[in-house]
Symmetry: C2
Subunit: 109 residues, 2 copies
DNA sequence: AACCTTGTACGAAATGGATCGAACGACCGT
DNA sequence: ACGGTCGTTCGATCCATTTCGTACAAGGTT
């Protein structure tokens, strides 16, 4: 595949974004991207299988949270920070502002 | 039932909030509460059965988004705006800032 | 008391979504 | 061309969730 489909900013819905962010794995991916910037799929360090990772990245991309470009054999993923900030101000920054380490759900005080 | 359990602000997690908000019905409830303030269950005007409404309200309450108090035979539901603003600044206001009725209003651009 | 209203609790059915392994495809070395 | 790396697609499985109807509980009214 050479070109990858991305929704335009006007198509983004709050429901879609929240749904995409409601999964712990995807939330972790978004946080990682927020810290490291553009990262390859394999470089995300997520503890799921490759096929599952592909699935989650597609959900994030379809929701408009991320964009993906091809570089050789890799897919470089990054947050669509500008588009998101324009359409849903503060949403992304609010999410990124919370570094809850919880790799899984543990230690609820 | 006289007393209803609510989580303390420290227990609230971003994942939990986003998950609770990721359902269209619950998002609609939250928006309605944001506009009208404290409302009885039946006054929410949601198009689901009573038992389903109870379920969604429990999810919202367990996530820390709402609080419920008893008044006679009714349950008055309201947003925990202060607690949410303290723990996740801008999150709630960002969500409430977007009135997408879903199919009613289009072309927000 | 009996009755109505408001909401909850309890299953049960149906749907959706997360997960994986295996097979495949694209790209880049040698 | 061959093989290795990176990621996607397919099919299946498993678990969570949404939804409902019915039965029930609590509170108010007459």
């Amino acid at each position: 595949m050479r070109t990858i489909a991305h929704p335009v900013p006007e198509q983004l819905t709050l429901s879609g974004l929240l749904h995409a962010l409601s999964d712990p794995v995807r939330l972790e991916i978004v946080r990682t991207l927020g810290e490291r910037g553009e990262t390859s799929c394999g470089g995300l360090g997520v503890s799921v299988s490759k096929s599952t990772l592909t699935h989650h990245l597609k959900v994030l991309r379809d929701a408009g949270l991320t964009q993906t470009r091809c570089q050789g054999v890799q897919r470089l993923v990054s947050l669509r920070e500008e588009d998101l900030e324009t359409r849903f101000p503060s949403l992304l920054s609010c999410v990124l502002a919370h570094h809850e380490p919880g790799s899984t759900q543990m230690g609820v005080l």
